[in-house]
């Protein structure tokens, strides 16, 4: 359980309310072609250019399932420590909408491909396990565009039929931080597995949020509202905060919360009811008679298990145990697959400790500064390893290394060449250093006197002078040694 100060509670007069959150995440499966048709899934194509007769639901068209999407769902299920079901069934979810050409969505209702599992969150106050209810495969809908034509709605079916995984969490989340951590962890796992790119801008990851509130200490869950289709973590947090407060207000005024679907208005920062005058939704689920039950034997599932890469939790454990990283360091290095790859590439060619410090320090600052991903980083892992090796073997000092790093950031230049060209090699020849030191001692008789009479602090002054004279290249360790001798 989380500590008191981390608890997310909504306070009104004498009452404190706990917020209970569950997520239904829709993750687009990374695949070449759609779930039931052989048309492409590429993002951002011209409207209606990636639409087959099946996607547009022409008469007599039939679905044929994509094996790879099934494997991707199973992989994700394994990544969520979940049970994989040997038998699952595709159902039709019936409703009418302009961008739903069949008049139904093929989904999985009572018998999903993946059953219960869990995700472990690394919260500042410790680990927290969040239950996964299920994962199922379903088709995405097309896109209705309301703002091009004032009189009409335009429909683009490029996305129609793209495979989605719906991942449903148990109502185990209790704070906005946990929601943030959950989405990030889930995305990280899927990116490790290569089953979803997790790109929220392109809509590859969206979520419906279930929110309810209950008085602190009460065990029974409150009535929940579902907030549809929120497409960023920030909006999720805003929506939850608004919705939880709204529910608390309703309860405080003696009202009851209605179970309903709500929409988050990002402009007004509020949720509003989607209930129209229409009859409530009745999806009339039934098994799709165009498809058969999906029967998977254990061998099929075992084969997929063999392909599962090391996932963030295991990797973190290894980094801590083998590399002696702190849990904090390990966490940030494994949180993203690309970062972890970069780190492993650098550390294997150089030094674990230095690699950790440089990546979590200078490199992250650089990425932050430029607002870029590690995959767009101007410094290759190879060059960063070289830079670290230059420090390690004493060719340059840590301070010079920072300058070299800055030059590298401008265009992935080889650090060895930079050091060479700019003559930044560290001066480690004691005779050369002695010359400089002698000069500094000679030029500053007053300070020498003061130092000798007990002003120890002045030692730094001498070091500074030597470094200045050597353009920063002097080997600081040697300078210290020689200076001490000369000044004694």
């Amino acid at each position: 359980m989380s500590k008191n100060n981390k608890e997310y509670l909504i306070k009104r007069d004498n009452n404190e309310y706990e917020v209970v959150i569950g997520l239904e995440v829709h993750a687009q499966v990374l695949s070449e072609s759609k779930l039931f048709s052989a048309s492409p899934t590429k993002f951002g194509s011209e409207p209606n250019t990636q639409v087959s007769l099946v996607d547009a639901a022409f008469p007599g068209m039939l679905p044929v399932i994509n094996e790879f999407c099934i494997k991707q769902a199973i992989k994700t299920g394994i990544g969520l420590n979940a049970r994989i079901n040997n038998r699952s069934i595709f159902d039709r979810k019936n409703y009418f909408y302009a961008d739903l050409p069949q008049g139904y969505q093929i989904s999985q209702y009572k018998n999903p491909i993946v059953g219960e599992g869990s995700i472990t969150l690394d919260m500042p106050e410790g680990e927290k396990k969040i239950g996964i209810e299920r994962l199922h495969l379903e088709q995405d809908a097309g896109k209705s565009i309301h703002d091009i034509d004032p009189k009409n709605t335009l429909v683009d079916l490029n996305r129609s039929g793209v495979a989605l995984m719906e991942i449903v969490s148990k109502p185990d989340l209790r704070s906005l931080d946990e929601v943030n951590a959950f989405i990030k962890k889930l995305r990280s796992i899927m990116r490790y597995l290569g089953t979803c790119d997790g790109n929220m801008q392109e809509g590859s990851l969206r979520a419906d949020v279930n929110v309810s509130v209950r008085k602190k200490g009460v065990l029974e869950l409150g009535t929940r509202c579902e907030i549809k289709n929120v497409n960023s973590i920030k909006f999720m947090q805003m929506a939850i905060d608004y919705e939880a407060n709204r529910q608390v207000d309703v309860l405080e005024e003696g009202g009851t919360v209605d179970q309903e679907t709500r929409l988050f208005d990002t402009k007004k920062n509020e949720t509003r009811s989607m209930r129209t005058k229409e009859d409530a939704h009745d999806y009339r689920y039934f098994p799709d008679p165009d498809l058969l039950p999906l029967e998977l034997n254990d061998e099929f599932i075992e084969d997929i298990k063999k392909d599962i890469p090391e996932l963030p939790d295991e990797k973190k454990k290894r980094f801590i145990e083998k590399f002696k990283l702190s849990p904090y360091e390990a966490n940030i290095l494994v949180s993203d697959i690309e970062t972890s790859k970069y780190f492993e590439d650098v550390s294997i060619k150089s030094d674990i400790k230095l690699a950790t410090n440089w990546i979590t320090g200078e490199l992250f600052a650089l990425l932050n500064d430029k607002s870029i991903e590690i995959t767009e980083c101007p410094i290759s892992s190879e060059n960063l390893a070289k830079l670290i090796n230059l420090i390690k073997d004493g060719t340059i000092s840590g301070k010079i290394a920072k300058n070299v790093f800055e030059i590298m950031a401008d265009g992935n230049k080889d650090p060895e060449k930079i050091v060479e060209e700019k003559g930044l090699k560290q001066q480690s020849d004691p005779k050369e250093l002695e010359k400089i030191i002698d000069k500094v001692v000679l030029d500053n008789p007053k300070n020498v006197g003061a130092y000798k009479s007990g002003k120890d602090k002045l030692f730094g002054f001498f070091v500074g002078q030597v470094m200045k004279q050597s353009n920063g290249k002097a080997n600081p360790q040697l300078v210290n040694e020689i200076l001490k001798k000369k000044l004694s």
Partner: protein
């Protein structure tokens, strides 16, 4: 089991078919006589029977993840009632 006018209207909403008032009564009568006939199934005890989900004597075949369709936008939009070269066009959606 009777299917009254209210139920008829509810189903007509769900199935997106508007039914004129005069026809609703006749439809309700027709449906009732059909359901009376269907209710015969209640004679059977099926508590221990597994439902038959699919009659095809085969297993679900899996397709390789390969793109096999070209851009056929023209074909796709050719039959659409409101002509447009890029999109399907429908009357404004009111939320």
């Amino acid at each position: 089991m009777t299917i009254d006018l209210k139920t008829v209207k509810h189903i007509s909403k769900l199935s997106r078919i508007s039914i004129e008032e005069e026809k609703a009564k006749k439809l309700s009568d027709d449906l009732n006589s059909i359901f009376e006939f269907i209710e015969k199934l209640n004679e059977l005890d099926t508590n221990k029977t597994e439902p038959l989900t699919s009659i095809a004597e085969t297993t679900l075949k899996l397709r390789k993840d390969k793109i096999e369709s070209k851009n056929i936008r023209e074909d796709i939009l050719k039959n659409s009632p409101d002509k447009n070269k890029d999109f399907f066009v429908v009357p404004k959606v009111v939320e």
